[in-house]
């Protein structure tokens, strides 16, 4: 369970105590939850498509009803993907004093390439054991090794008054201190193929996802 986690002798995230009932995330649990998300998407879609086809075969006059069912089958997975994309939505754009100070600290925490990436996309790219992370101010994306799946996590700092860059620093430091603990504390909002998420993202974040996908393809799945 989460509260008992210790990662390779390192201190686990203290926040794990607040989600003690959750099993600690691992590569195996992520594979299993990914399969469950796929099954769930199929369970939402296939019955509607089958009903649409069945109705059309039984009586062609029901084709309009079948079309409505097909639209439902398309919309439901799209809504899930939109929820996933929402975790990296830019909350507010501030360039005042505190944000510049916070950006300076965040810039010190990442390497030169990642700093340029942050400037373009507003996200920090971080390679971890579970895959390639894109960290935003109130959430993170995890592109799994092989890049066939991306997980979207809703996670944030509990201080509402922090500048956006400090929010990213909070998440980045927690992720670096205990990656599996970070993924355990965070709430998964979506898991699916990167292309499903991509079209829901604004252009600069789409480009960031493409970079993370390229990097994740070099990791062994």
């Amino acid at each position: 369970m989460a509260a008992e986690a210790a990662v390779g002798g390192r201190q686990p995230l203290p926040e794990l105590g607040s989600v003690y009932w959750r099993p600690v995330v691992s590569d195996r649990t992520l594979r299993r939850s990914g399969r469950l998300w796929t099954l769930s998407a199929a369970a939402h879609t296939i019955p509607l498509l089958a009903a649409a086809v069945g109705l059309a075969v039984l009586n062609p006059i029901t084709i309009p009803v079948g079309l409505i069912l097909i639209v439902h089958a398309w919309v439901i997975p799209e809504l899930y993907a939109a929820r996933g994309a929402g975790v990296v939505r830019r909350r507010r754009s501030i360039t005042s004093g505190p944000e510049l100070v916070a950006l300076g600290l965040l810039g010190d925490l990442v390497a030169h390439d990642a700093r340029a990436f942050l400037g373009r996309s507003g996200l920090v790219i971080e390679r971890g054991k579970l895959g390639v992370w894109l960290v935003a101010e109130a959430g993170a994306l995890l592109v799994r090794p092989g890049a066939r799946r991306v997980n979207c996590y809703c996670v944030r700092t509990t201080d509402p008054d922090l500048p956006p860059a400090d929010r990213i620093s909070h998440l980045l430091l927690a992720l670096r201190a205990d990656e599996t603990g970070f993924a355990t504390v965070a709430n998964m909002a979506f898991s699916g193929a990167p292309w499903r998420l991509r079209r829901r993202l604004p252009p600069e974040r789409r480009e960031a996802l493409a970079v993370a996908v390229r990097e994740a393809r070099t990791l062994r799945s």
Binding site: Q11, V101, T157, F182
Partner: protein
Amino acid sequence: MSRLIRMDETGHSTLAEWTAHDAASVEAAAAALREELDQGYFAVVSRGEGHAEQVRELPPDAPLVILRRPIAGG
């Protein structure tokens, strides 16, 4: 000169500065750290790109100790 900083609404604030061979400055920084931990902050030492470590006591050799608030699933 090592620094203890706290991320806050100003971006960040420097709470203490110390050098490892100055015991008084180390003790003052350790006391400042304990006070912040009691307020609910967590202390993290950045160990270069990709690595960070949670700490409960001041590591005198660390160049930068950062205090952060807890995180939670949204």
